[in-house]
């Protein structure tokens, strides 16, 4: 029986090889299904993992205060909004709020992020990609980011023309590798490079500005450059421990509200909460899309069934011959079952290979980091095989139950 199975395998391989193109089209449904399920799930898992890293990165005891009213400047162009979404929400956070947050009980460190809309001129002339943020010395601790070279702004730098660059910005502004101590111009004023950040792990699908192309200057300097109109789009605050986050949020809420004349025109977010919410939405989306992709697996199975049905009709004479020389119904059945599962198996293998190729391309060309887990590969592959077997049964049964004389009589 074992050798017979091997014979069927060979016969199946022969027939698959015999009609390469037709079989490729047959497998296409399975190929697309497997590849898309694996790709979508791996992208979802990858993004979730990156968000998880971000949560642990920024720490659980970081509070973000943002202006609440999006309508303020939402008439601005959409591309602006998507790149620097914080910028377009101007207004509701004020200079006084920065002090309020600093003085609130329970806040151990805080830093405003104030955007400065201005020109930056470096070694290579005017730089259009730059994004200038005024902030306080506490920032590295709050966003848990270390410097590659030099030091961050200190308390002594307040009001001085010092700057710390993101790594991309450092490359773009200067020709030298480590431009510490070099100067460049913001709004016509000379600034001296104090330090350069390590690469910020960027998060796909997040609304954070890209810190790698950002210039950080002291908050005071930013206010001076903009004549006290720097748009504070975020204030970060940190508590001593995760336990005191909730009461601190309460007191922050109260004190800022008081400063705004009892208006609730701001939002206070916990880092873990907002990220967790995003992660939940993401997994929901991933499930939805992989469900849609799974349908293509089903359609692929139906495709296999159709081609096998045609193949059974075409090979009726062969079935007749095989039966005449002593093949039992079960042997014919297993022959056709093996053929259809071979089709779906090959489709699954090609699909997995394509999924890995797509994964490589995504890693190379985008900032997505898909995670292909073996469970997903196994699942997609297994489902495709099961689909092939289930949809292979109908044609195989049709072949097996054929009357030998009738089958012999049918000519090609």
């Amino acid at each position: 029986m074992k050798s017979l199975t091997r014979g069927h395998l060979k016969a199946g391989l022969d027939s698959v090889r015999g009609a390469k193109w037709r079989n490729f089209w047959t497998m296409l449904g399975i190929i697309i299904g497997v590849a898309s399920v694996i790709t979508i799930v791996s992208i979802g898992q990858g993004v979730k993992q990156q968000i998880g890293q971000q949560i642990s990165h920024s720490g659980k005891n970081v509070i973000t205060i943002r202006p609440g009213t999006l309508r303020a400047n939402s008439s601005q162009s959409k591309s602006d909004f998507s790149v620097l979404s914080g910028l377009s929400i101007t207004g509701s956070l004020r200079d006084s709020d920065v002090k309020t947050v600093q003085d609130t009980k329970g806040v151990s460190a805080s830093a405003p992020l104030a955007a400065v809309a201005t020109d930056v001129v470096g070694d290579n002339g005017l730089n259009k990609n730059s994004f200038v943020i005024g902030t306080s010395p506490d920032l590295p601790a709050l966003i848990n980011q270390s410097l590659a070279f030099g030091v961050f702004l200190t308390v002594d730098d307040e009001g001085m023309n010092a700057a710390v660059l993101g790594s991309t910005m450092a490359d773009q502004l200067f020709n030298s590798d480590v431009p510490l101590g070099h100067s460049f111009k913001i709004h016509g004023e000379e600034f001296i490079v104090r330090g350069i950040f390590n690469d910020f792990g960027s998060t796909p699908l997040s609304d954070e500005a890209n810190y790698n192309s950002t210039i950080f200057i002291p908050y005071d300097a930013a206010q001076r450059l903009t004549k006290n109109s720097a748009a504070i789009y975020e204030i970060l605050a940190k508590t001593d421990s995760a336990k005191t986050v909730a009461p601190t949020i309460g007191s922050l809420q109260q004190s800022i509200k008081k400063g705004h004349g009892d208006q609730n025109d701001f939002n206070i977010l916990r880092a873990d909460e907002s990220l967790a919410a995003r992660s939940n939405v993401l997994s929901l989306l991933t499930n939805l899309i992989s469900g849609v992709a799974a349908i293509s697996l089903l359609v692929g199975g139906i495709g296999i069934m159709n081609v096998m049905l045609v193949s059974v009709t075409e090979r009726m004479h062969e079935i007749g011959i095989r039966k005449a020389i002593g093949a039992t119904n079960r042997q014919i059945l297993s022959q056709f079952m093996i053929e259809s599962s071979l089709l779906s198996f090959s489709g699954g293998v090609i699909g997995v290979v394509i999924a890995f190729i797509i994964d490589g391309l995504l890693r190379f060309f985008t900032n997505l980091r898909p995670v292909i887990s073996w469970q997903v590969v196994g699942l997609a592959f297994g489902v495709s095989l099961v689909v092939g077997i289930i949809f292979g049964t109908v044609p195989a049964l049709k072949a097996a139950r054929k009357d030998p004389i009738e089958a012999l009589r049918s000519q090609l």
């Binding site: 050798s3 027939s15 095989r322 005449a324 020389i325 093949a327 079960r330």
Partner: protein
């Protein structure tokens, strides 16, 4: 004990008004070692008889003992096993699987028996040697001549050591040289003790048989033993009244008849002359008619 015992076997196709009686209470006993030719006009039930004996078809009525075992009511899978183990089929159109090599084709029945690959290929190769086409074992069936293909089919029928070989017009698609080759091969196999049943339209081939069965309208109308190497007595009558196919044969038959008649000249020459003249006259007439129309 007889190898085949058919008792009043009938086979009805269709239902009601549309039903046809393909076999009408045929009774036939064939002993081991017989070489039986089955003759009869088309539609006389020869193929149905073969299918019933070969267990491809179940009789509607009657009993059938194959090698002492009742097989008339076997279920399809059991019938398949009996076919596999005791019957070898040879078809008019060879029926080799086109995608398999000759060797694999011959080895196929052994695969259904569950023999290991190396063993069955070896056995198939031996069988091909026996039928004389071992050199072609890796060819595809489409690369063989008709005679070679039929030899391969015979090898496939023999590879299981069947007790019974059923050949449905084995020479139907072959020229006379290839037919002789195939029949000589079957005769050789018969000498080793196999029982062979074959259907034929050609009375000449009854020379190879030890027994000839004639069928008409689903019944066995005549059954005679013949000596090997001689055309069967009844078949001999058919031999010379055979419907000929070519015009040349026709003319030869007519002229032979005319020659046999006393005091009549042979009509061959005048016939030709008439043909010639009519051909000329039509040629002549055509331009005339066109002129007249002008």
């Amino acid at each position: 004990m007889a190898l085949i015992e058919l008792k009043e076997v009938s086979k009805v196709y269709g239902f009601g008004d549309a039903s046809t009686l393909a076999l009408d209470e045929a009774t036939l006993t064939i002993e081991k070692g017989e070489f039986v030719a089955i003759m009869g006009p088309s539609g006389s039930g020869k193929s149905t008889l073969m299918n019933v004996i070969g267990l491809l078809d179940r009789p509607s009525h009657g009993s059938f003992m194959l090698d002492g075992r009742p097989v008339a009511k076997l279920r399809p899978n059991q019938a398949a096993k009996v076919r596999r183990d005791t019957i070898g089929f040879i078809f008019q159109s060879f029926n080799l699987l086109p995608r398999l090599s000759v060797l694999e084709n011959v080895a196929l029945p052994l695969a259904y028996k569950g023999m290991s690959l190396s063993r069955r290929l070896k056995q198939a190769s031996n069988m091909l040697e026996r039928v004389g086409i071992q050199k072609r074992e890796y060819f595809l069936p489409s690369q063989l001549s008709g005679g070679q293909a039929q030899c391969a089919a015979i090898a496939r029928a023999l590879v299981n050591n069947p007790k019974l070989i059923i050949a449905d017009e084995p020479t139907g698609n072959l020229d006379s040289a290839a037919s002789r080759l195939v029949m000589e091969l079957l005769a050789e196999i018969h000498k080793t003790g196999n029982t062979i049943l074959f259907v034929t339209h050609n009375p000449e081939l009854t020379r190879y048989a030890t027994r000839v069965v004639y069928m008409h309208d689903g019944s066995i109308i005549h059954d005679e033993k013949t000596a090997l190497g001689q055309v069967a007595a009844t078949a001999r009558k058919v031999l010379y009244t055979l419907t000929t196919t070519t015009e040349e044969d026709d003319l030869a038959g007519v002229s032979a008849l005319m020659m046999a008649l006393p005091n009549k000249p042979a009509v061959r020459a005048p016939r030709k002359a008439i043909k010639h003249r009519t051909a000329k006259s039509t040629v002549r007439r055509k331009p005339k008619s066109t002129k007249a129309s002008k």
